[in-house]
């Protein structure tokens, strides 16, 4: 287990290094980052001055090493628009706004599918089974932001303002964005739990558990679901990542003051320190989530570790 953890950790550190490197070269794609890092109206002298101030006149490898030291500390320089540390701005938008939205969506899309998927498996061709089949097909075929617009049209416009269309602060503000973000993964996860349960329920140990007179609920959740949970966990981990990028469009639709909307607003002003900091944080969250899921997987299912070691 320790070797497994260590290898996972080394891998994560490697990925973080790769991410920092990509973020570093991103802004240098255009040739002269100084021109991007100052106001659009800056004169040539001002750009030259900025280049010197930002240390962009030094050799590339010196800049890169500097960046490698600064990035993990969260030092991405000052926002061009607000003249404040870029990472602090990103963090202020991540916590609490984006974190709330993501947490609500995770609860909806990871917890709810467990009972729903079990019902879909135990009552095949029942209402839940059909609804989740159609739901997952349709929801995967529409952009989430359009679903959001349609929900606004329904709940905020047609039903006379039953729920607020945009804004942040109260629980009722959270309902539509969280539902929009969670809808597609929710339906997909119901299918996943269902498929896993259908496979597991055929096994002998389930029959044994029933034969020894256990209550059906205990058979299903303690014996069957625990064994069906593996692939569900892996996919949930992956879908968390997609959910993170989903926040970008969803926050824009609902004017949710999170880091997704921050990055979108930073683009027209070419506020690169903010974009870099946000990309970095997105990638870090993504890596962290996948690391946690991998480790959980290894804890829950010793086979995952063994296969890893053999590979």
């Amino acid at each position: 287990m320790r070797a497994f953890l260590l290898r996972r950790l080394v891998h994560a550190v490697f990925v973080v290094w790769g991410v920092v490197t990509v973020v570093f070269f991103l802004v240098r794609l255009t040739g002269d980052p100084a021109a991007l890092l100052v106001d659009a109206t800056a004169t040539r002298e001002e750009i030259a001055h900025a280049r010197q101030m930002l240390g962009l006149d030094r050799p590339l490898h010196v800049q890169y090493l500097d960046f490698l030291r600064a990035a993990p500390r969260g030092d991405f320089g000052l926002s061009i628009r607000e003249r404040r540390p870029a990472m602090r701005m990103v963090l202020e938008h991540f916590w609490p706004a984006t974190a709330q939205l993501a947490f609500a969506a995770i609860v909806l899309s990871v917890v709810l599918p467990i009972p729903l998927g079990v019902v879909a498996a135990t009552h095949r061709n029942g209402v839940v089974d059909h609804a989740s089949r159609l739901g997952s097909l349709f929801l995967q075929s529409m952009p989430s932001f359009w679903l959001g617009l349609m929900l606004i049209l329904l709940f905020a416009v047609a039903l006379g303002g039953l729920l607020p269309a945009y804004g942040w602060g109260t629980l009722s503000h959270l309902i539509l964005p969280a539902l929009t973000l969670a809808a597609a993964p929710l339906a997909q996860n119901v299918r996943l739990v269902r498929a896993g349960m259908l496979e597991v329920l055929q096994h002998d140990y389930v029959r044994t558990a029933r034969a020894k007179g256990l209550a059906e609920r205990a058979v299903i959740y303690r014996h069957a679901f625990r064994n069906a949970a593996g692939p569900f966990l892996t996919v949930s981990g992956l879908s968390l990542g997609f959910m993170l990028s989903g926040t970008i469009v969803i926050e824009t639709v609902f004017s949710w003051p999170g880091m997704g909307r921050l990055i979108v607003q930073a683009v027209p002003g070419r506020d690169f320190p903010v974009i870099q900091a946000a990309v970095f944080l997105f990638a870090m969250l993504f890596v962290a989530v996948n690391l946690v899921v991998d480790v959980l997987q290894g804890l829950l299912d010793p086979r995952a570790r063994v296969f890893e070691d053999a590979a």
Partner: protein, 280 residues
Amino acid sequence: MIQAPRDGVALLGLAVIVISVVLAATAPALAPADPVQNDLLERLAPPMWMDGGSGRHPLGTDTLGRDVVSRLLYGARVSLVVGFAAVILAGALGVALGLVAGYYGGRLDDILMRLGDVQLAFPALVLAIAVLAVVGSGLGNIILVLSVTSWVTYARIARGETLSLRHREFVEGARALGARDAGILWRHVLPNVLPSITVVATFSVARTIIAEASLSFLGLGIPPPAPSWGAMLDEGRNYLTTGWWLALFPGLAILAVVLGINVVGDWLRDTLDPRVERGM
């Protein structure tokens, strides 16, 4: 092998794809109006079946008085071109790299796969936004960015299949007969990789169309006034109370095309790739 789909749903999906391609290709002949022509006297005209609607604008007009049907038809071109071009590009790149990595292994394989790991650490949309912010948007850049962010999947599949094939008898046999590596990869390995790649690529066209719509919605798509479905939704979202049709129809268009592609993808998976289990 591939036969015409027998189940009705897949057939319907195929029909939707064919129809949308035909509509997009013949947009100049079909569109009732110029898609970028403003007509401020006719702004926010409702669809023809509503009060105040007229046959001149069957699905109404937008805030600048531009005809919605015409913009939808021209917007289909953007969605389909980006969807197919980005997937073909990413597929070609990914498969080529995956074949080489799987066949030769070693250092090259390590580097490519680690590169893939790093890239998968970025949510694709975040990376696309960041790159487009630097290089600027436009049709070519969008296709490039969307293909660069998706080559890894193809590379991984092609590599995996190649690994399992490279010591099989027919490959060893070809090598013993003096075939060159390129010939073996092209003639013996590639054909075995293609079925699974086709399945993945089909679903990927659907996802790419949604990704393009998302980028356009965020203002990073092809520059205005050229119509694209995502940009139309972006314009429409501020008029939900006065012009609901602006937010409804472009979304329905995306839903129809993407649903059609996904249904065909399901069918392809069942026919071409029997190892992937049904029931998801």
